[in-house]
Amino acid sequence: MTGDGGTLASGLARDAVGIALRPAHYRSLFADLPRLDYLEVIADNFITEAAGPRRNLERARAHYPIVLHGVGLNLLGHEPLDERYLDAVARLADRLDAPFVSDHLCWTAAHGLQHHDLLPAPYTEDLVDFAARRASYVQARLGRPFGLENLSSYVQLTASTMSEHAFYSAVVREAGCSFMLDINNVYVSSQNHGFDPHEYLAAIDFARVLQVHLAGHSRLDDGTLIDTHDQPVCDAVWQLYASAWRQHGPFPTLIEWDAAIPPLPELLAELERAREVRR
């Protein structure tokens, strides 16, 4: 997975840091061109013929490498993968020369309807086989490294026969793809379901981690944590990140912020904190 000189086979520096680019930051980003190793964009927002998004993406690409993150693959959906969607993502990845593409280990649609959410499924051996075959196919179809992201989840399912990290690891291993490891999601799910996040991270083969995501979350009145991406990364997640870095670093790191989006300097300050944690 790791090439010479601390770079991924994908060409991105192993210790690269970046941000998830959102339209709220276009103006500041293009004006200031801050020091960033790369950007990540939601692929689904750019597989459109609309002129505006295409132009902004081209402007960003002129200054930074861009990796693609999808939300619509529906890997664990019971219906066949959408070949037109895969075509569009592959074309976009080619156009951007994206170092890698990622999406989620979840389902997002069923029976012809889109749910626009990242939904959990029971963790079972037969689903490992199904998911791994599909992830392997997607990676071959895209012609570049493909990473699967772990979910934040709010339910545990009675039909599960294995832990989340065992399921996640098995799918990645059998598919021959990579982890797109979201440490905030590990933390959120660990609090909601009462498992040890350190044990989860210890089970991950970091040689196969394409990228780590960090983000903020919210807490409901009943104590449930929700993956809202609307505030700074919390201290507990920073501690998990620092621990993972000490034991398994380097790995590319990216900050996501999707709601109540602050000015770009605030987001860059979060990124600076990631750099400090690693020193």
């Binding site: 459109t48 664990l76 649609a109 069923a110 889109q114 626009h116 199904f130 196919y137 399912l157 409901l220």
Partner: protein, 280 residues
Amino acid sequence: MTRSTPPAWLESFQARFSRVLRAPLDRSGGALRDRRDDYSSEACADVAAGEPALERARLAVYNRQYWFRLLDALQRELPLTHRLLGSWAFNGHALGFLEQRAPAQRDLATAADGFAAFLEARAAGEGAAARALAQAARIDEAFRSVLRAAEPPPFVPTAEALAQLESARLVRSPAVRFIEEDRPLLELRAAPYEGERPLPLPPALPAPRSWVLCSTAESYRLVPLEPAQARFFELLAAHTVGHALSLLERTQASEPALAGHVQRWLAEGMRLNLWSGISR
């Protein structure tokens, strides 16, 4: 094409979970609340929470997320309509619309397709505020259309085409819409808004205003149109240039400089990329 077959249980599990997601919210108490007691016992049995109340509470997180994400998307897609209605009334209309038409497209923004027409139909025949709402919905839809349009190739008519322009029809660019407002709604659309309460309906203008909305490299551009110019562009959408001109002359007979104005308007239209080609 991957031929992997899903486990036999997956489809029925996802059917149960999907029904929970799409379970309508309750508006009766002055706030949007989930109806967790209506979730099927089979769906609840899928959740390992240890106690029944917690199973329903955890499923309710997904149920609320489903609806709030869609409501947020519709508010973003129709910001002027949202401002006029306020969040409570807007969400009420939106829930009625979405319960009839669950999203089937991957692009979240397309969940709003048809909502402007739905609002216009609801507002039909009901007084000034309803007419303003219908106009607001049309304006929001114009923005959606322009901002989602592909960039048309530059239209550079040949000398021969220009010589025969009178008998030709100009094809409007997909990245252009014409807007008319009876009240300063475009200003309202751009006004800061924190959500929740409706903004006051602005007073009617002395005369309606017309604009052309076109996409630009940065985002979009609004250009004011003279009334006769707006009428001419409207006629061009349905007639050849020559016929549109003759129809305009019937209503503008007292304007001696009309021919000069038309030349100027056509030149301005070319400069703004209002047209993407010529048809005969």
